[in-house]
Symmetry: C2
Subunit: 324 residues, 2 copies
C-alpha cells in the first residue's frame, strides 16, 4: 500500500507538506501543491478521507446555536422557517455521525457553556464582532447568514439569483411594470434580493422601481398607495412571503383582481404561502440544514479546509397569485 512517505519521496517534499496538502491545512505554495497531487496520482494513492467518515469511531460534538429571539419564534408558527432548518440539522447529524446540542447564542457569547468541536450558527442575529471572536478559536459554519469580507464558511439561500430569475422571467414574457417591495436593506437577505431585482431590470434596460417597507414601523397601506399612485403595476415582487401576503390581501380588499390585474410574488415559501395561494421562490430549508452538517463534518475531519460561501439556488413555486 502506498504511504505518505512514498508520496513525499516522489514529490521531493517533507511528509508534513504532503499531509498539509492532503488535509488542506496550512500554507503550501501552488507549485508544491501540484507536485504533491501529481505524486498522489502517479502512485495511485487513495486518501482515506471518504473512508474516514464511515469508519470513524469518534463523534464530533457540534453546538447548533440560535438566539433567544429565534428560540422564542420556533415555539409558534412564525418560526417554522427555523424549525425546518433545525430538524434537518438534527436528522443529518445522525447520518454524518455528529452529535449536536441546541445552545443559545447569548450563552456562547458569554462563555456559559462547554466547548464544542464545531459551531453551526443559525440565523442572522449574531453580530460581526461575535462571529469574528468565535471563529478565531473554533470551527464555525453560518446558516442563512453571511458577513462581508470575514471569510467564515456560510450556507445561504441565493436570493439574488432567485429574484433575478423571476424578474427576468416576466421581462422575457413582455411585462414592463414590475416593481419591488422590500424590507430594510440593513439585512443581508433583503439586500441580496434587492440587488437581484435591480440587476435584472437594468440588464434589460428597465428602470428599477423599489419601495421600502418596514413592517415594524408602518402599515402596508401607505407603501401601496405610493406604489399605485401613477399606475397599477403588472407584477409586484416582494422581499418575503409575509410582505407578499399583506400586499395580496390589501389589493384584493381594494378591488383589484389577482392575478388578472396584478401578479404577486413572495420569497421563502412558508406554510401560509401555500394556504394563501401565493406564488413564491422556495428557499431550500432542508438543504440549508443538511449542507451545514456536511460542511462542518468536512471541516472537522479536515477534508476541505479552505472556507467558502455556498449559495443554494431557490425553486420557483407557481400558485394562483401570478399569471406565470
Amino acid at each position: 500500500m502506498v504511504s505518505i512517505d512514498d508520496i513525499a519521496k516522489k514529490a521531493g517534499v517533507s511528509t508534513a507538506t504532503v499531509s498539509r496538502v492532503l488535509n488542506g491545512t496550512g500554507y503550501v505554495s501552488e507549485e508544491t501543491e501540484i507536485k504533491v497531487l501529481k505524486a498522489v496520482r502517479e502512485l495511485g494513492y487513495v486518501p482515506h478521507t471518504l473512508a474516514k467518515t464511515l469508519a470513524r469511531k469518534k463523534t464530533f460534538s457540534v453546538a447548533v446555536v440560535i438566539s433567544k429571539r429565534i428560540s422564542e419564534l420556533i415555539k409558534s408558527d412564525v418560526g417554522i422557517f427555523y424549525k425546518i432548518i433545525l430538524d434537518a440539522i438534527e436528522n443529518a447529524a445522525s447520518i454524518y455521525k455528529v452529535s449536536v446540542d441546541l445552545v443559545l447564542l447569548e450563552e456562547v457569547i458569554t462563555g456559559e457553556h462547554r466547548t464544542y468541536d464545531g459551531y453551526i450558527l443559525v440565523g442572522s442575529d449574531a453580530s460581526e464582532e461575535e462571529i469574528e471572536k468565535l471563529s478565531r478559536s473554533s470551527k464555525v459554519v453560518l446558516v442563512d447568514h453571511y458577513i462581508d469580507g470575514l471569510r467564515v464558511d456560510s450556507i445561504v439561500s441565493d436570493g439574488y439569483d432567485g429574484i433575478f430569475y423571476i424578474t427576468k422571467k416576466f421581462i422575457d414574457s413582455g411585462f414592463n411594470r414590475i416593481i419591488h417591495i422590500h424590507g430594510p436593506l440593513k439585512y443581508y437577505g433583503f439586500r441580496d434580493r434587492y440587488n437581484g431585482y435591480v440587476a435584472a431590470m437594468t440588464k434589460f434596460g428597465k428602470l428599477p422601481l423599489v419601495f421600502e417597507y418596514d413592517d415594524l414601523h408602518e402599515e402596508i397601506d401607505s407603501v401601496l398607495r405610493r406604489a399605485l399612485r401613477d399606475w397599477v403595476p403588472e407584477v409586484i415582487i416582494c422581499s418575503n412571503d409575509p410582505i407578499a401576503i399583506k400586499v395580496l390581501n390589501k389589493l384584493k380588499l381594494w378591488g383589484y383582481r389577482v392575478p388578472e390585474d396584478v401578479s404577486i410574488i413572495g420569497f421563502d415559501d412558508i406554510p401560509a404561502a401555500e394556504k394563501e395561494g401565493l406564488s413564491t421562490l422556495r428557499v431550500q430549508k432542508v438543504e440549508l440544514g443538511v449542507n451545514a452538517v456536511k460542511r462542518i463534518n468536512e471541516i472537522l475531519s479536515k477534508q476541505s479546509a479552505h472556507p467558502y460561501k455556498q449559495c443554494i439556488y431557490t425553486t420557483y413555486i407557481k400558485r394562483n397569485s401570478s399569471v406565470m
Copy 2:
C-alpha cells in the same frame, strides 16, 4: 439491516418517495421530506451514499470543456491560471474515480463529440444560451463562471468578498484615498469585485472612485492620468494582477515610491505577481478544480441534487507593493 421498504412503511409514504428524498431527485414536499428523514433517523438507517463512492466499480465519464481561446492561452504563461485549474481537475479526478477528457467548447456546442455523464465547463467563454442548452440534457458544473438566474451549479472565486476585505482593511487603518481600477463590467468577475469595492466604501461612508480600463483598447497612461489629476491615491485596488502590474511599473517610472506614496493591490496571484512583489488576493485555483470534481461526482452519484453556487474566499498575500 434496515431497508428502504422499512422506512417507507414507518413514514407512511411510497418507496419511490423515500428514494426521491434520499437521492435528492424530483419534487417532494417539505412535510414529507421531514417525515422520511425522521424515519431514517429512528430506524438507524445509514444511506450508502458515502460508501457508494468508495465501492463504486463504474467510473463516471466527465468532459472538461475549454474554449479554443483558453486552449491557446494554456500553451504559454498567460494561461497559467487555467493550467493550474486543469491540473487540479485531472488530479482530483483520479482520487474521485472519475475519468476526464479535455474537450473543446466549440465541439461540444456543435455536437461533434461523444456524450459524457457530466460536463465541467472551465472559464467564462460559454454563452448563456450554450450553457442553458447543455444543462437541459446533461449534468453541468461551471468553474470560474456564473450566469444570473440560470441556476446551474457553479464554483467561483469570491471576488466581492476579497475586494471588500482588502478595502475594509485599509479603511479600518485610517486610509481615505482608496480608488479602484477595473476591467470591463460586462464580465462577471470584474463586476463582482467592483461591487465588493463599492459596498465597502459606501458602508463606511466614503465615496467610491472607480476608473474603467479596457486593456485591449487603451493605454494605462490615460487612465492613470485621470486617476491622479486632483490628488495621489493612497491605495489603488485593481481588478486583476495584469492591470496592477501595469499600474505598478508606470507609477515607478513616473517617480512615485511604491508602497510609501501609494499601495497597489492586485487580484488572482499569477506567477508574475510574485516576481514583481505585488500584494494580491489569491484565487484558490487548485480548490476551484478539486471542488468542481467533488461536486460533479456528488451530482452524478445523486448525493446532493439541488444546485448551488460555491464562492471560494480568496486569501490575501501581502508583498512589497503595499504598506499592509
